[in-house]
């Protein structure tokens, strides 16, 4: 968390091209930079969840208690989500800061900013699900971290990049783009909270949670 805030503070308020330099009352810098930090931060938070339990054998302790595998996975997910939530909440201060700093004739676009915050929170929530899944497929934390970063990148940016390849132009590009997180994040960021986007985020979270449970159950195969 400390690392997260230091990197954010440096980029948003101190380094070249920061919010104050832009002369507009907007948090765009924050909303484009943060997903890239989360890409690394969240797999680092979640890499221990299952990989470490498998490594030390405590997974046997957990799975022989009167709880289902799904309960264990959801418990782990909520624990990591809790940490992400408490990393997320303090960033609301940036919104207040920029709002107070802005001149009254050029106020911050509240609608778009709220939308972006909601999008960002869901993006983090999806990354948590991906990170937990990555942790459940290996018993090595480093591998879990790398797989997590890779899958997060794949979901966030890679689909968007692939869709812009020449061969997909005009036919599949929109479809491929909409598999990725980026398109939905941008869509919410415009300030319109579309149920399709919310359903998309929730589906991806469920998908990875089910994937995690399957990985946990693989001991029974």
């Amino acid at each position: 968390m400390a690392v997260f805030f230091i990197v954010l503070a440096l980029n948003l308020f101190i380094f070249q091209g920061n919010i104050l330099d832009s002369n507009y009352a907007t948090l765009n810098t924050f909303f484009t930079l943060t997903p890239w930090i989360l890409l690394f931060l969240i797999p680092a938070i979640t890499m221990r969840t299952f990989a470490d339990e498998k490594q030390t054998g405590t997974i046997e302790f957990l799975t022989t208690k009167p709880v289902t595998d799904l309960q264990i996975v959801i418990g782990k997910y909520l624990a990591a989500l809790f940490l992400w939530t408490f990393t997320f909440i303090p960033t609301l201060i940036y919104f207040i800061a920029v709002k107070k700093l802005s001149l009254s004739e050029a106020p911050i676009d509240s609608g778009a900013t709220y939308g972006s915050y909601i999008g960002l929170y869901f993006l983090g929530a999806v990354f948590v699900a991906i990170g937990i899944f990555a942790s459940s497929v290996t018993n090595n934390q480093i591998v879990a971290f790398l797989v997590g970063v890779f899958l997060c990148y794949l979901m966030y940016d890679a689909f968007f990049r692939i869709s812009s390849l020449a061969i997909f132009q005009g036919q599949l590009d929109y479809f491929i783009q909409s598999i990725g997180l980026n398109a939905h994040y941008d869509s919410i960021s415009r300030g319109v909270v579309d149920t399709r986007d919310i359903i998309y985020f929730l589906s991806v979270i469920s998908l990875f949670i089910i994937g995690t449970r399957t990985a946990l159950e693989s001991r029974k195969w």
Binding site: T56, T58, E60, T64, K65, P66, V67
Partner: protein
């Protein structure tokens, strides 16, 4: 029946880890599960605790099937897995509190129960430390405490005494004996004395199959149809003259005066030796009947045939 296992098998790929075993454990019994490494002890225990499902066969704990009623079975079982995995960065009480909660103990009862269990396993002095800081013996106690926290009917302990020093060893054994007064206990080990000291019954398992299932004392008698008698005379005796005595089948000479005699009937051999000594006027210094130790039985049963 507290635990009942019928034709249980577990295959890993093409290897049979557990091969068609059946046994039953009565309420209040302490059953020792004995076998060399890789015999299938842990696999059997993992199946009984619903960690992995059996490939074939069924088992039940307190009448509940381990596959169909996995959650209820887990409630009735206290399990100490092999190598005693614990969360080393948790405090002892914190961990026991967690173990209590995950076992659905009501929050009002938790503090009292944690205290009881700490007393029971003798963790009093160490209860404020982190688990990672404890010595191996105390970690083992935390593992047993965790298994006991919900007051289960059946305790399944996978090698609870491995890697402990002799004092800790006897502490843990006494603890198991103490617990066995109220609970059904199934524990695995590869130390024979432990079985002799603690169990009412022993199952020896080798290569996934049960090779013996009896009380430790009976097991010794059953396999003891061969008698061993150690004798020592004052003066030298020729090996051949001993071999001529009836009932003695084989003579191993340790020295010119010291022998180990093998035969069928220990009583007849000892009598004959005494008569032999008297008639030869060669005073007998030692006559010792040797019982085959459980180690020897274990060795014999688990040898490759």
């Amino acid at each position: 029946m507290a635990v009942s296992v019928r034709n249980l098998s577990k295959n890993y790929n093409h290897q049979k880890a557990v091969d068609n075993i059946s046994f039953e454990v009565k309420k209040g019994e302490i059953l020792g599960f004995l076998g060399p490494n890789g015999a299938g002890k842990s696999t059997t225990m993992k199946m009984l605790t619903c960690y992995i499902p059996p490939s074939k066969g069924t088992a039940s704990v307190s009448g509940l099937d381990i596959v169909q009623h996995a959650l209820e079975v887990r409630r009735k079982i206290g399990y100490l897995p092999e190598n005693n995995p614990l969360y080393y960065d948790m405090y002892v009480k914190e961990f026991l509190d967690f173990a209590a909660r995950i076992n659905n103990i009501t929050s009002v009862a938790i503090d009292k129960r944690v205290k009881e269990v700490i007393d029971l396993v003798g963790l009093n002095i160490e209860q404020h430390k982190k688990i990672g800081q404890l010595s191996k013996g105390y970690k083992q106690r935390v593992g047993i405490a965790q298994a006991l926290i919900h007051n289960p009917e059946v305790l399944i302990l996978d090698e609870p005494t491995s890697g402990l020093d002799p004092n800790q060893l006897s502490d843990i054994r006494n603890l198991i004996k103490e617990l066995g007064k109220e609970k059904t206990i199934l524990f695995s080990t590869h130390i024979m004395q432990e079985v002799q000291a603690v169990c009412n019954r022993v199952i020896i398992i080798n290569k996934g199959k049960i090779v013996a299932d009896d009380q430790p004392d009976n097991l010794q008698n059953v396999l003891n149809n061969e008698a061993l008698v150690e004798v020592e005379f004052l003066r030298e005796v020729a090996k051949e003259t001993l071999q001529n005595i009836s009932n003695i089948q084989q003579v191993n000479a340790l020295s010119a005066t010291h022998f180990i005699l093998h035969g069928k009937d220990s009583l007849q051999i000892r009598k004959a030796i005494f008569d032999f000594a008297v008639s030869n006027n060669n005073p007998l210094l030692t006559v010792k009947q040797e019982t085959k130790s459980l180690e020897a039985i274990f060795h014999q049963l688990t040898q490759q045939k």
